[in-house]
Symmetry: C2
Subunit: 447 residues, 2 copies
């Protein structure tokens, strides 16, 4: 089973096929390529010219509607009026940096920090999850005086130089940098034997020892707490606990990357790490934080930030601007006022039950797993061998797109459908998706 | 002459003085520190509780007005109605990533690329100038296959781990990383002898040779084209040309950091590098690009980006979202429609003439230099020795703040007042500042 060419290549439009698509669409693609070149990655065999979006729906330039199961950034719903209103009002009032005092920024920081367990009491605001992880790595190095990091084998943590070093999925085919070790994600589907928590702790222990022997030393373990790009692994709840205990025993830090699982997506708590009963030393945030407004953040133990600040001058021009803070406050308000955490929990059960039910008819559905509205649907060639079916994932993604449903894939083989809609996704939307999967898989099987 | 403790420390509120300021203000500062800790840097001996801003003015919570000569991010004016309207409208319509096609994004890319000389024809959109410089370094490494970078001695290029490595002003007291060389900025005030362009080229040549000998090799020269944090050096126009020629002869790349000088600030062109008649290989952008909306970008030769994309998977979730593009388009429109480049040029002359005129009375004004609305006012203890007067800079900054004028300092000694107001700054505003400087310097001299 060969590893896919990295998470970013999954489901990408093949630029060499531009002459074979509809001419008007082809022209729009050519226009994109003229400015953005080969670095431009578009989704689907037929890319979509998107025009507007609202709630769980997106609409293309022809007015065609798409049910969105892909986008976790507009987490409280596309174009949510309360977030838009907050951005508009604050942008017209004041947008500046954090070297002046501003009540909106300080109010937001307090609201956000209140969602964390005791002890995580200081905050740095950034503009992206990448910036947050980049800073977290630096804080871990200064705190521990060591350089080595441990991540999972298909991890993605962002796009800066330092963060790309700890993102194996962005470096397909390349050896890991010398200061980085990758361990298998705590995976229960293909490795059901034994306790995944203990297995993960054993892998991390070996990696720590290896880093110590190599002279880099062990600075931190950095994981996405729902292992998004590793294929979404949430169960059994608590499996991270032995590893976090070990990390602390070995004098390292545990950095929880909440860029994807955070902000109520997992249904049971604001943060993915809560599922495992652990308290991180550093938490990084991004994507859904401003419902699309570019913002990220790093929350951590006060002593870590104070020590870092004593040695390093860090300033982020746009980080913590009042417009971002206003957007962030609106997001927290909407999550609470619209009961989105509870909705994620309830719709999750409905959606997973429905997918498992059609799994009785489709032997290519190997597994349905996840937490809240972050669900992985594992596609296989064969249920016994569990051989991954990335070609079926790709086929299904493009069929669903033609049917008006947006979804992507994840995991080391690109065989896991990644279900992470806006959190206002309802049971009716879940039913639409379940029916669509059922029908498309039936047609694929018949063809 | 000892180097200051890094650019970020200039003009910072001393946290240990919190008990000696007004109690209500002290409480607001304490609130800030509770969430953001010692990493929080506030301006002025008495920090300002800012509430709103419009055009060239900012207003604190008590309604007190401040003339803004500091903020170069709200470049077309604080809370500009056209930018606010563009953000509001687009945020209510669609905010998403670049894996869908979107006319606003493609239209913006074309408008932006049209401002560059022929040959700079591809673009990556990021969220910050730091992300832009981080990516530029990576592109330079992949393009050249080499690792070594050359920057100026007091350079600041951003806050990521990789960019902090090439930002000596963020690393006060620390040795440079082994792959980085720092050269003196092309400075004419304290080094008036000889041709500064040739002098700069000679320093860079020596640094290249040193990098080659060290085994890192020479990847790129990265400079802010108006040398903002080195103290603002713009003259004589053309001084960068011999160095850029040399860089290319030595098979390296020239990266122009336009985060501060770009977007018409220098008065004569959209980009600072134009002043020197050179064409960079890579151009990075940030701060004023969205008038406060978090956005940055990297423009470069097409071949560089295509080669990079073939080797590296890069994706930026918020980069190039339609809201940023709408803000960016509005900024370009306003620069054009309100004639801000011409205004920068005209007000610059008026402002520099006026400051030179009061310089006849104040022997502590050592130099007035710059281009457009990016001007340095050099404060000295003595005109003959040219000994820097950072303590006077600090005193003047805090006196001007009490008078309702916002300004900061730059340069290796913290002795250069950094004048970079919104580009809608008029001659009347310039006169207010000139008069204020004149009166405050007179009072300081008398005290």
């Amino acid at each position: 089973m060969q590893q896919e060419k990295g998470i970013l290549a999954l489901n990408a439009f093949d630029q060499s096929r531009v002459s074979s698509i509809d001419p008007a669409l082809g022209e729009a693609v050519q226009r994109r390529l003229r400015s953005f070149g080969k670095a431009s990655v578009l989704f689907y065999q037929e890319p979509i010219r998107m025009a507007r979006a609202e709630g769980v729906y997106m609409f293309d330039v022809d007015g065609r509607r798409y049910l969105d199961l892909y986008n976790n950034v507009p987490s409280v719903g596309h174009s949510h009026p309360r977030v838009v209103e907050a951005i508009s009002r604050q942008a017209g009032l004041l947008s500046t940096h954090t070297r002046y005092l501003n009540d909106v920024v300080d109010g937001y920081a307090e609201r956000l920090l209140a969602t964390f367990p005791r002890g995580i009491d200081h905050l740095v605001l950034t503009c992206t999850g990448s910036e947050a992880n980049d800073l977290a790595l630096r804080v871990a190095k200064v705190t521990t005086g060591r350089m080595g990091f441990i991540v999972t084998e298909t991890a993605y943590h962002g796009n800066s130089a330092a963060v790309t070093d700890v993102s194996p999925s962005s470096r397909p085919g390349q050896p890991l940098p010398p200061h980085v070790r990758a361990v298998p994600a705590p995976e229960m589907y293909r490795n059901p034997v034994g306790d995944p928590g203990q297995r993960f702790a054993d892998s991390v222990a070996a990696a720590i020892t290896d880093l110590e022997r190599s002279g880099f030393g062990f600075a931190a373990l950095l994981v996405d707490t729902i292992f998004s790009s590793d294929g979404i692994h949430a169960d059994p709840a608590g499996f991270l606990a032995p590893t976090v205990k070990l990390v602390h025993e070995r004098q390292g830090l545990f950095i929880a990357d909440e860029v994807q699982p955070g902000f109520a997506r997992t249904g049971a708590a604001m943060w993915g790490f809560a599922r495992h009963g652990v308290v991180p030393d550093i938490v990084t945030m991004g994507k859904p934080m401003g419902n699309g407004f570019p913002m990220g953040g790093v929350a951590m133990r006060a002593a870590l930030l104070d020590r870092f600040a004593a040695e390093v001058k860090y300033f982020n021009t746009f980080g913590g601007n009042p417009v971002a803070a206003a957007a962030g406050l609106a997001v927290l308000d909407v999550i609470e006022d619209e009961g989105l955490m509870q909705n994620a929990r309830e719709v999750s059960r409905h959606l997973m039950d429905g997918l498992r039910e059609i799994g009785n008819r489709h032997m290519t559905i190997g597994d349905v797993r996840g937490a809240g509205l972050f669900i992985g649907l594992e596609l296989v060639r064969d249920r016994d061998s569990k051989e991954p079916a990335p070609e079926l994932a790709s086929l299904l993604i493009n069929r669903l797109r033609r049917r008006g449903i947006l979804i992507g894939a994840a995991g080391p083989f690109g065989s896991t459908l990644k279900i992470r809609p806006p959190l206002c996704f309802g049971k009716d939307h879940a039913d639409m998706f379940i029916t669509a999967c059922d029908e498309e898989l039936r047609e694929v099987a018949a063809s």
